[in-house]
């Protein structure tokens, strides 16, 4: 957000001025009241449970590994990973899934936010009901939709059948499973996107809308020329958050299809778990490294571009 950046910038400047104005002796004393050892618990946890596993994963991905001893085998794990068409398809699925869920959340979240910040009857209720799925567990949501979308007994197909429409096997059709899961993911997660967009829309100063109205701009034009450009910060946040979530997605896939039917809805995270379960720890870690590289390769340039545009605004 341009405004918040400006605020914190002035805050920092004011603080500097104050420190400079005070006597040198006092300045040193005040500084020592922010002890560096306050970082130690955070750094200790971060290093032990995050940094060490992350860095050692680069080594272990190059080994045949039993958790107790490891044999160095070079890039064999990665070769196996990309030679196996099923594993390769999980790589592609991860990308498809992340793009679909993230894109849908951006569009649906934006229009829901527009609706929920506008003059509409039952706004409080609508806000609550859209956000609630965010809070309930993915496992519960997965089981719920598995029952609702069951090809034989499920309620959705019963309704479709009643109107004489086709009754697809939502989670059992190989061509459909990944997209069904993506839809459930959007159902569960669109509330966060909506919330962020709502915050972005509310932060736009009223004068802009009034000026547009005086200039005779209609609803569509106001939306395109004012709301969408001025929501860029929120859009960037939603894209970044939902892409990270999409690329790392595991729980909803595991509980609904387990990567099936066959391997058609497998993503990197589910393959990593399967390899782990089968005892191929080195191979599993290699999958984790691929996921790490994929997320970094997408997120670092993307967040750089999105944030730069924000500054230009």
């Amino acid at each position: 957000m341009p405004t918040s950046t400006a605020n914190s910038a002035t805050a920092i400047r004011a603080a500097d001025v104050r420190v400079d104005a005070s006597a040198p002796g006092k300045r040193r004393r005040i500084r020592s009241y922010y002890p560096t050892w306050f970082f130690i618990p955070a750094i200790a946890l971060y290093v032990v449970f995050f940094a060490i596993p992350t860095f050692s994963s680069f080594y272990f991905s190059l080994t045949r590994w039993s958790l107790f001893d490891s044999t160095f085998i070079g890039f064999a794990n990665f070769v196996q990973f990309f030679q196996n068409p099923q594993l390769y398809s999980s790589f592609v699925n991860t990308l498809i899934y992340a793009v679909i869920t993230s894109g849908t959340k951006v569009v649906a979240g934006f229009f829901l936010a527009l609706l929920l910040t506008g003059p509409v009857v039952g706004r409080g209720y609508l806000r609550a009901v859209v956000f609630f799925p965010v809070l309930i567990s993915t496992i519960g949501v997965g089981i719920m939709f598995k029952s609702l979308l069951d090809p034989f007994h499920g309620m959705v197909n019963a309704v479709l059948g009643f109107f004489g429409l086709p009754e697809p096997g939502w989670f059992t059709d190989p061509h459909l499973a990944l997209y069904t899961i993506a839809a459930v993911d959007v159902w569960k997660g669109v509330g966060i996107a909506t919330l962020i967009f709502m915050a972005g829309i509310v932060a736009i100063p009223h004068e802009y809308f009034e000026a547009a109205k005086i200039d005779g701009a209609g609803g569509w034009k106001t939306l395109r020329q004012i709301t969408i450009p001025l929501c860029r910060g929120a859009t960037a946040t939603v894209i970044i958050l939902s892409l990270i979530g999409g690329l790392r997605s595991f729980e909803i896939i595991w509980v609904t299809t387990g990567g099936g039917p066959g391997f058609t809805s497998d993503v990197l995270a589910s393959v990593i778990y399967k390899e782990y379960q089968a005892g191929f720890f080195g191979l599993s870690t290699a999958g984790n490294v691929v996921l790490f590289l994929l997320v970094t390769a997408i997120m670092v340039p993307l967040s750089y571009v999105l944030n730069r545009k924000q500054v230009e605004l």
Partner: protein, 277 residues
């Protein structure tokens, strides 16, 4: 003006109808299934139960499989309370110093905090580390892992919030003779209350709902969490769908209660954490 009102009504009513179908029907379905007999529940029909056996199902669900759900609820409670407490104290300390102290290390620290948000955790090497520390498969080990996973988000929130607390307050406390520890715990920490509530609610919901973490780091029946129990339950008891849905309902109650009580806090915390971070 009248036309605008009419539009607000029409759009609102359509939105409410759609929301009922899309969001409320699935929840109602769970609740109705949880009140049915096993035979009726396995039909998956969206219908009123012919015989209400809600409380009997509740008792059966809590006692089935040697009361595994009950044990899971206790484990999940310990895990959630433990890791959220640690998260609040540790990241408040780090976020506070990070916001106050200007040093050349700032950008480096920021880089690592952001990395913690973006980078997917290396799961199997984490198991290896936990085993080395003799903490694998234990609740304390799981608490430390969950705490670490939440650190980045919490530190970002605390850092943003500390900036809104005037420095004069620190100076006044110091002049009154407070040491660094007292300054933080007695002066600053109480002022952080709004953001602490946000962190508690958001992270408690997250830890309570986490499935992948316990799946990797808490194998075995003894330390089962509610999400794991729900997952195993859905694999086994295919003849007791009523109990499965009762379990889903039970597991949904804590977040529901948290939502009802802290609605505003969750909303403001999520947005400030997501946008200003």
């Amino acid at each position: 003006m009248n036309r605008r009102r009419l539009r607000a009504w029409i759009v609102g009513v359509i939105a409410i109808l759609v929301s009922v179908v899309v969001f409320l029907v699935p929840f109602a379905f769970v609740l109705l299934q949880a009140a049915k007999t096993p035979a009726e529940a396995s039909n998956f029909a969206f219908s009123w139960p012919t015989r209400w056996v809600f409380f009997q199902n509740l008792r059966d669900t809590l006692t089935s499989n040697d009361g595994v759900i009950w044990r899971a609820i206790i484990n999940s409670a310990v895990l959630t309370v433990g890791s959220v407490t640690l998260m609040v104290i540790i990241s408040a300390m780090a976020g506070y110093v990070l916001a106050r102290k200007k040093s050349k290390w700032g950008p480096v620290v920021n880089f690592f905090v952001l990395a913690g948000l973006i980078v997917p955790p290396a799961v199997v090497p984490t198991i290896w580390v936990l085993q080395g520390l003799k903490l694998f498969g234990t609740i304390p080990g799981m608490i430390l892992v969950e705490t670490t996973l939440g650190l980045s988000f919490c530190i970002l929130l605390f850092r943003v919030f500390v900036r809104t607390i005037p420095r004069e307050l620190d100076e006044a406390a110091v002049l009154d003779g407070a040491g660094p520890v007292r300054l933080f715990f007695q002066v600053v920490l109480p002022l952080l209350r709004p953001v602490i509530v946000t962190v508690i609610v958001v992270q408690a919901v997250f830890v309570f709902n986490d499935f992948a973490g316990p799946l990797y780091f808490l194998p075995g029946d003894q330390n089962v969490t509610v999400q794991l129990a729900l997952y195993t339950f859905s694999g086994q008891n295919l003849s007791f769908y009523n109990q499965l849905f009762m379990a889903i309902f039970l597991v949904t109650i804590p977040p529901l209660v948290a939502y009802i009580f802290f609605n505003r806090q969750i909303v403001s915390g999520m947005t400030s954490g997501a946008i200003k971070g």
